[in-house]
């Protein structure tokens, strides 16, 4: 759930070895993102694994330890437009570090669920029967073609079943730009990434928030 928040606020003594190791490795992100008002514990360039080969990483594929540019744009948009999540039931799917979920909560969402998969969990929400979400957030989720296909189908189910609004944040990844979903999107906001984020994410210079206008064929 709120993986980042749980690690920040829980007493060290109650953490399992995985969580204790995570706390030691992660540094606090202070200001180098689109949302300096949200404080997160992340892997940063000062961590010793930053340039190591994957075999030497302490965790396999720690997607949750990076504040991805797609999620940054989404969180910034929510903070700039509190009426978007105010009073609504929000799902942050593939939440990663949880920043979009935090932004939704800060701007008055009535209920927020941050969902992701990792080695210790087996429940993958994509493909399951959707709950009645008012707003579904997807930050930087279109980096894998297969995942994008499954996600696209599940989003259509969510929209037709419960009329959910879907917001997508993406920094223009090749797999996103070439996917079918792209022609069904309406641009809401566009942000230039801070210099440090550009440096960390090679070739990405800005990030966009899209609204998914899916209308099922009648």
């Amino acid at each position: 759930m709120y993986r980042g928040i749980i690690l920040c606020f829980r007493d060290q003594g109650t953490l399992n070895p995985f969580q204790r190791g995570t706390c030691c490795l992660m540094r606090r992100d202070t200001s180098q993102s689109l949302t300096p008002e949200i404080s997160l514990r992340l892997f940063t360039p000062t961590c010793r694994f930053w340039t190591e080969k994957p075999e030497l990483w302490p965790f396999p594929d720690p997607h949750w330890a990076i504040y991805w540019p797609g999620g940054q744009a989404l969180a910034r948009y929510l903070l700039n437009n509190p009426e978007v999540s105010g009073g609504r039931k929000v799902l942050d799917l593939g939440c990663g570090c949880g920043a979009s979920a935090i932004a939704a909560k800060l701007t008055g969402a009535s209920r927020v669920v941050a969902n992701d998969i990792d080695p210790s969990e087996t429940y993958n929400m994509i493909g399951s029967k959707p709950d009645a979400w008012d707003l579904i957030l997807l930050g930087d989720m279109f980096y894998d073609e297969d995942l994008a296909d499954r996600l696209h189908k599940w989003l259509q189910t969510c929209i037709t079943t419960h009329g959910a609004q879907v917001l997508i944040g993406d920094p223009g990844r090749a797999q996103f730009e070439s996917h079918d979903i792209r022609r069904l999107l309406h641009k809401l906001a566009h942000f230039e990434l801070p210099d440090s984020v550009k440096e960390e994410n090679y070739r990405l210079t800005n990030s966009t928030v899209w609204c998914y206008n899916y209308k099922p064929d009648l």
Binding site: T51, E52, P54, P62, H63, E145, A174, N201, Y202, R203
Partner: protein
């Protein structure tokens, strides 16, 4: 001529570092180049051995990595993409399954997708610049590439031929030994490092450029980029699919280690020196 000055530079650096590879640069270590590359390469230092049958060097169990000049080429391509001057960067490598790791490194540096041209076994042992350049020429036509950037030479064979051959096969202009590249509309301004100094040329696209040492300093592949690179596509292609015959027209007769240096003799005085030289029939 450029090559001999380059070899001098290589040899002098290797001597300083005490490399045991007899003054020959080899794929797994001591490529000479930037400080960063030297540091990385020293970690994987190994002694190159000639095979007992003298048909080549031992490559089994030897860690392979991206040719340092090719790292510079990849970096330059990504810089062009960052400046929004090119639409897409495709990283290509020819070889057995292991080259996919090298392509992934290029993807982690920022390339959009990869192409692995599968060549293995005996074909890979005899793969040389002519076959590679034919493969690249075929791919350039298939992918409708506007620009091919590669390292000026591989540090294992030092051929310095592939880029030039690609340009000849495609009848494209070439800018070799580039230390600077600037895209100006449909022309590429290339500053070339030549023996007499620097030469500036302008070539029309599509073109081939080969990267020299001072073109840039390649970036590291970092954790978030390595993660995202795992999901980028690498297409698999065989030379036959491109209509290329990888059969080599060259036969290696033998490979030998350079002769061992003989121990020198110390003398006390100039007269002793002259005496020794007379004994050896040198004066």
């Amino acid at each position: 001529m450029h090559r001999s000055s380059e070899v001098k530079h290589v040899a002098s650096y290797l001597n300083t570092r005490g490399c045991e590879c007899f003054g020959q640069p080899c794929e797994s270590h001591c490529p000479v180049l930037t400080d960063r590359t030297i540091h990385v390469q020293l970690k994987t230092f190994i002694k190159i051995r000639v095979k007992p049958d003298r048909t080549g060097v031992v490559t089994d169990g030897v860690k392979h990595s991206m040719n340092p000049f090719c790292e510079i080429a990849v970096e330059e391509a990504i810089k062009l993409k960052e400046k929004k001057l090119v639409k897409e960067v495709v990283a290509v490598s020819c070889g057995p399954q292991q080259v996919q790791e090298t392509i992934r490194t290029a993807l982690a540096m920022g390339a959009d997708r990869g192409i692995h041209v599968e060549v293995s076994g005996k074909d890979y042992e005899t793969l040389g610049p002519l076959q590679v350049s034919k493969i690249f020429a075929a791919l350039a036509k298939k992918e409708q590439a506007d620009l091919i950037i590669l390292g000026k030479q591989a540090i294992d064979d030092d051929c310095n031929q592939t880029g030039q051959m690609i340009a000849a096969l495609l009848d494209w202009p070439q800018g070799t030994f580039a230390s600077e590249m600037t895209l100006e509309a449909d022309k590429m301004k290339v500053v070339r490092e030549v023996d007499g100094g620097l030469e500036t040329i302008k070539i029309k696209l599509p073109a081939v450029v080969t990267a020299d040492l001072r073109l840039n300093t390649p970036r590291y592949a970092t954790l978030p980029n390595i993660m995202k690179a795992k999901k980028k596509k690498i297409a698999n292609v065989k030379p036959a699919d491109l209509g290329v015959d990888v059969c080599s027209r060259l036969e290696v007769l033998k490979v030998d280690e350079p002769p061992q240096r003989q121990a020198g003799v110390k003398v006390e005085t100039v007269d002793d020196l002259v005496g020794k030289l007379k004994e050896a029939g040198r004066v």
